[in-house]
């Protein structure tokens, strides 16, 4: 039977076209295997001399100086790499509500000088932040304001969950989408210019941001100047000389076959991370920059990705305790401070033995073990040395660090401070950065909801406008808001609200409303600072909290409990709260004790003085009677 089958098969191959069919099948199988799966499986980096493609997967004709399209990093890289899997990564998945948000992180901050607003925003639903859609920000507007420090996020192709929230489709057809740009992290070429990405984003040339940042072309044009009804398919309908930006590729970047060499690194260099993840101390009490030491890990020769690593899915390990409950990444939980520097007893997982990457094992001799239960490692080892007043800082995300700006000022909002020692949701004390929100809102049923930002600006900017002559005195035109201005603004907002709603202004750690025409301030959870953990720069043992003894923390008037957390919001008088007030622990008991003694002192002294007075009075009267 088998011999019969074999003869049958050989006869099939003899048929015309059969070999071609077989060849095509093999070819297709090969291509399907190649697509998204080209690997070298070597530590030697693959030399990327590749063809560029645009978003429609058309090959880039770099010689066409007028019609050439901008290259699409997603499509180009997607020829060999599984970009869909990559897009699920931490830097790109903020809009995916199926992704566990994990520990609170740094928010985006909406800043409006005219209305004295600084509002933390995030797509990740971290408590204390607001979704952009909640305050009337479409994804397109979000990209316009914050795209300068976004790695893409494919904001023109939102997830279906957030699609329903986004009523304004924006000008995506004109600007193109803000696609994930792999080179933001994986370019080893020092000429890759993330600043140029920001420049193009500012011009709303989203589709052109990647090619400009990579230094492959000159972009001429500005989509901001194009009308809303501009149709890229039929540009002539909008009039002569109205066209999309042109992409003029540098011929020197292309070889004879029209391919480009990309200096790609598998492990991103720290400088790439720093563009978005830099914190700069601007407090006057800080030493100059050259006096600051870098993170001890960096000094030891480690890179960011040694701890913050991931696989193809790009789910970056954030390396905090308990992350493994939020993150499927196999590295989660194995690259924390504790895992490397202390290790886990009784484990069979070699990644949890401790001493990984040469990490010294921390013995903490004569140190009560209770501290490890009550506090995170970062409390003692991270951030700048705490002083009695918190320190003002600026960050890349909030202040656009990494972009050259001759007008950047140390007092520019938003106002961020560190370090703030607070108890976290896991019950441990951690070290944080803080932002005190300031925004106009509606108070209804004990809940404060911020008003749409554009609406607030339209309603109040003329009322609260800072005169041009006064703008020079305040950084970026910010001027302290007066009670009178707050009253007027609240009145104006109230006139447009329903009866059950009350206009409020959250500022300076309190919410303010009008009661009989006067401002009444009250505490509310919405006015509390938004805080997120900090972990860098890490200080070594010799500079950790407690190195001078227990009294670094266990003493009267030390920053840990009694440091003053600056309450800085745009336009308000700068106030302060004690660390222990924000920690929320024992505050009421403390106040009660203090009140008890106050009453006792005053009450006792009043009684005694009355007694003395009575005695003197009686003696005087007796003397008179004699």
């Amino acid at each position: 039977m088998i011999m019969k089958k074999g003869r049958h098969l050989s006869k099939w191959f003899e048929r015309p076209g059969a070999r071609w069919i077989l060849f095509s099948v093999i070819l297709l199988a090969g291509v399907s295997l190649c697509e998204g799966e080209i690997r070298t499986d070597s530590r030697t980096p693959y030399v990327h001399v590749i063809t560029l493609y645009d978003k429609d997967s058309e090959r880039i004709d770099h010689k066409d100086r007028f019609e050439a399209k901008p290259y699409s990093a997603t499509v180009t890289c997607g020829k060999c790499h599984d970009v869909e899997a990559i897009h699920t990564g931490w830097h790109f998945n903020a809009q995916n509500s199926n992704v566990a948000p994990g520990r609170r992180g740094e928010p985006w901050v909406w800043v409006d000088g005219e209305t004295r607003t600084q509002l933390p925003l995030s797509y990740r639903d971290w408590p204390g932040t607001y979704r952009p859609s909640e305050v009337g920000l479409s994804q397109w507007e979000f990209a316009r304001h914050f795209g300068r420090h976004l790695p893409g996020m494919m904001l023109s192709q939102p997830e279906s969950e957030s699609n329903s929230e986004d009523s304004n489709p924006g000008r995506w057809p004109i600007t193109g989408g803000l696609e994930d740009d792999c080179l933001i992290c994986h370019s080893g070429d020092p000429s890759y210019n993330a600043g140029e990405w920001a420049v193009q984003v500012e011009k709303e040339n989203y589709q052109w941001a990647s090619v400009a940042a990579a230094g492959l072309a000159v972009i001429k044009g500005d989509t901001r100047k194009l009308p809303d009804d501009f149709d890229p398919e039929f540009p002539e309908l909008s009039g002569p000389d109205v066209q999309l930006p042109t992409t003029q590729y540098y011929a020197s970047k292309f070889d004879a076959n029209g391919r480009v060499f990309f200096d790609i690194v598998r492990v991103p260099r720290d400088e790439r991370c720093y563009f978005c993840h830099t914190t700069h101390g601007v407090d006057l009490n800080l030493p100059p920059r050259h006096q600051e030491d870098l993170d001890i890990h960096t000094r030891a020769g480690m890179s960011c990705t040694d701890c913050h690593r991931h696989g193809l899915d790009h789910m970056v390990t954030r390396s905090y305790e308990g992350e493994e409950t939020h993150n499927d990444n196999i590295s989660a939980g194995t690259l924390t401070c504790r895992a490397c520097h202390i290790g886990q007893e009784g484990t069979d997982d070699p990644f949890k033995f401790g001493g990984r990457l040469g990490a010294p094992i921390a013995k903490h001799e004569d140190f009560p073990a209770i501290h490890f239960e009550k506090m995170e490692c970062t409390v003692c080892h991270s951030g700048r040395w705490a002083q009695m007043d918190t320190l003002a800082i600026q960050t890349s995300l909030a202040h656009g660090l990494g972009l050259s700006d001759e007008h950047r000022h140390r007092d520019d909002p938003p106002y961020l401070v560190e370090p703030v020692f607070l108890r976290q949701s896991n019950g441990k004390i951690g070290i944080h950065r803080a932002l005190w929100p300031a925004f106009w809102a509606v108070w209804e049923d004990e809940k404060i909801t911020p008003l749409p930002l554009e609406e607030v600006n339209a309603t109040l900017s003329s009322l609260l406008k800072v005169p041009a002559e006064e703008k020079e005195d305040s950084p970026k035109g910010w001027k302290p808001i007066t009670d009178e201005e707050i009253q007027k603004a609240l009145k104006k907002i109230q006139s447009g609200l329903k009866e059950a709603q009350t206009a409020v202004y959250v500022n300076g750690g309190l919410a303010h409303k009008l009661v009989d025409g006067k401002i009444s301030s009250f505490e509310h959870s919405s006015a509390k600072p938004y805080t997120w953990s900090l972990a860098h720069d890490v200080r070594g043992a010799g500079q950790s909290l407690g190195i001078r003894g227990c009294t670094d923390c266990h003493a009267d008037d030390v920053p840990f409990f009694f440091g003053q957390v600056t309450v800085a919001t745009p336009g308000a008088k700068v106030g302060a709260k004690r660390m222990h007030e924000l920690q929320g622990d024992y505050g009421p008991e403390f106040k009660k004790t203090h009140l008890f003694f106050k009453i006792m002192i005053i009450g006792t002294m009043v009684l005694l003085l009355l007694h003395i007075g009575g005695d003197l009075m009686r003696q005087a009267l007796n003397k008179r009677a004699k």
């Binding site: 008037d557 409990f561 222990h580 403390f590 003694f597 006792t604």
Partner: protein, 251 residues
């Protein structure tokens, strides 16, 4: 009864009120508390971060700190001694018994206040210790317990930090400062009025030094004690006479 005050044309009769032990305890208490107050104030004020640049490391500030601790030690010592005195000595137990608050003290306060306002013609009649003297004693008792307890938490801060958390530690600081304020005010206003500023006694009595009180003062301020003393003297005299008579009979 002993005669003293030679400056008087007619020698004033005096009565021994306080023993040497009692007076020594009072002197140590008084001096230690006054030093504690005057050294505590700069520690409280100048250890704050705003002033620490001035005080920290300064030789005088360290001296102040050590003086405060030394006086605290003296206060602890006299407190412990007093507890032993009131427990293990007959005299101490008797004094302690007299110092215990009674219902009479409540009525004395009421009647005295009524006397101040002219609602009673005469002052209440006090025993060995008036109600305000008892108040002084128990206020010091309360103060010592609190000040020594909270002070030790700070003196041995490394030890404390191992066993107590932040809340008791900081509370100790707050209580120490608040109680110190109360003690200082009570001392310099209330106690000093009773022994120095009172027009009846101005510029003050030396009772705390020699332990003797004049007969007039005794009758005026502690009539019940005086009467009791007379009665006991009479009883003693009668006993003496009876014993003498017995001896004569025996002989």
């Amino acid at each position: 009864m002993k005669k003293t005050s030679p400056s008087e044309t007619k020698p004033q009769e005096t009565i021994k009120r306080f023993s040497l032990q009692f007076r020594i305890q009072h002197m140590v208490l008084a001096s230690s508390v006054i030093i504690l107050i005057f050294t505590g104030i700069p520690i409280w004020c100048f250890a704050k971060p705003s002033y620490i640049w001035w005080s920290e490391g300064a030789w005088w500030f360290d001296m102040v700190r050590w003086l405060h601790r030394f006086s605290g030690f003296a206060l602890m010592a006299v407190s412990l001694y007093h507890m032993g005195y009131t427990t293990f000595t007959k005299e101490g137990r008797r004094e302690f018994f007299h110092l215990l608050p009674r219902w009479k003290d409540v009525t004395d306060v009421t009647f005295n206040v009524m006397y101040f306002f002219g609602l009673r013609k005469e002052r209440p009649r006090f025993g060995r210790f008036t109600y305000y003297e008892k108040f002084d004693y128990w206020a010091v008792y309360w103060g010592c317990v609190i000040m020594i307890g909270t002070g030790l938490v700070f003196w041995f801060d490394y030890f404390s930090a191992k066993y107590i958390s932040w809340f008791p530690y900081k509370l100790a600081a707050e209580i120490h400062a608040d109680e110190a304020i109360l003690a200082a005010l009570s001392l310099f206003i209330w106690h000093f009025y009773n022994v120095h500023y009172n027009p009846k006694r101005f510029p003050g009595t030396l009772l705390w030094w020699h332990g003797e009180i004049s007969k007039e003062e005794m009758i005026d301020d502690h009539p019940l004690e005086y009467e009791q003393m007379i009665q006991e003297t009479k009883k003693d005299e009668k006993r003496y006479k009876d014993a003498k008579a017995q001896r004569h009979k025996g002989a």
